[in-house]
Amino acid sequence: MDPIQTPETPVFDRRLIYRPFLERLNPIASIGTVVRQGLIVTPGNDPRDPAQPPIHEAFASAAEIQPGVQMALVGGIGSGKTTELLLTRERLKRYPDAVNLLIEAAEFTDFSQANPGAMLAAIGLRLFARYCENFGEPPEEMAAAYKRLRELGLGKTEWYGHDYSGEPSDDYGTRVDVPGLMKPRFAELKGEVGKVADLLGAIALPFLEHGNQVTVIVDGLDRLIDPARFRELAEQDLRAVRGMKVSVILAAPLLLWYDRGRFLQDYFDIVKHIPAASVDPKESTFLREILKRRGAGDLMSAASVNEICQFSGGVLRDLLSLAQAAAQNAYREAEDRITRKHVQAAIRQLGNRYLAGIGGAERYRIRRLQEDSRFDIEDSNSRQLLVNRQVLEYSKKGRDYFRVHPALAKLLAPA
């Protein structure tokens, strides 16, 4: 007999199963939220060398013992660079005198042009704000440097012909906007880098005199993709900061890792690379731990978790996207658990995204990689495949190798 439905009968609400899971799995959730919820699985070691400490630990230690050190982090899209940078900042907080700035590159560049000086200006403005926050009234010289930096960067408005006597007047004078070297988001500062660097030095000085350890972490420059533009943007600014005892950590484009010019390796004191994570459970449980931490074990079998790990290719954002898509597929089909068919559909959806835009030239290179393990990183089509994550880079025991993204490979495989 069917149970009698009364208004008091609790109604089963499937949303209550899936909603918290989807919130925890959101691959583009604010990283601050993810940290606050304790969802970050901290890597136990350097992904390229299990004998070395994790990247954030290496970065933080270097900034602590070598003030002024300059470091770069490279990795493909969705590989976990922002998380590592955030973990670095958290690690640096262990000393109360640490002043850590995390700056998103979009704050000082629209990426359309290299803009030497803009990064320095952004650091200066943020450092000044931090000083006022921590210590209150800034020293006179620091305040003057800040004012000058703002004027240089953002411009100023002056009124000519205005009666400043305070008497009421209909004549408000003529407004004259003196354009700055920066637009609201930092325009042309070229030619002024030295001046901006001096002003930054004046703003940083009180911190350094207090014995503060200053570290600036810049995320987002990897989105420049083109190594030449990154070099142009970063080189002058970084050179200007050298000697200031301000440590810098930057996210850099993946292609610089493979650049023949070896700019990264030659210029930076420390360079770290996050390759795609190992999907082999015998080698690493990292990917499984991430899904477990986000509650996947409650809604899917261990086999489904394994399948998602495998087809993520070790790209962390793809790992979360697959689990999220599988959960949405299950919800749409009004099922209470995520089953294999939902996971399979999610893998197909991800593979289709990677398939979009692949033409004959790319297919040829993919086939060559699959059949002969040949992948020429100097070739422009191959580099594009790598940037777009259709091909992934791995590292095992010091050896680098490439594989087609497994979700894409599955779609391309003969039926």
Binding site: E23, P27, R317, A325, Y331, L355, A356
Partner: protein
Amino acid sequence: MTGFDPITPFTLIRGIGLAGPTNPAIYLLICGQGTADGVENDLLGEIRAQLGDPVQAETVSELLSRSLPFSRDSSTRLIRIDRWLPDLVDSLDKHSALLVQDGSQLLFLAEEQTAEQLLKAAPNLRNRLAGVFHIEPEDLSGGGTV
């Protein structure tokens, strides 16, 4: 471009509602030629009905002509990519990490060719998409024929 799962405005918005109104997400919705108006109307109706939120709908041409950032007074924004603008797409790609930083939902609506160009030209954005679907207007005929 084939292979993307079909979805209706009702089902899509139900999924967004499931994830919660403050759970940021970006979707790329591919519509058939000449169906964009119908799909857009259905989407707006579903957003209002299911999410009860104000929604901001614009084309990229309008966005560009205003030269203004997205308004922040709605939690769902529908942007129809009515023409291919490489610079704008490049900019969207470079700033993809910031597009829904406020916890909003962003729906891009494009016809097939444009959608394919977008997926190819914007790898950062592609990696942040919560889903790519072929979206179809609601079939209100009940499956019957006239």
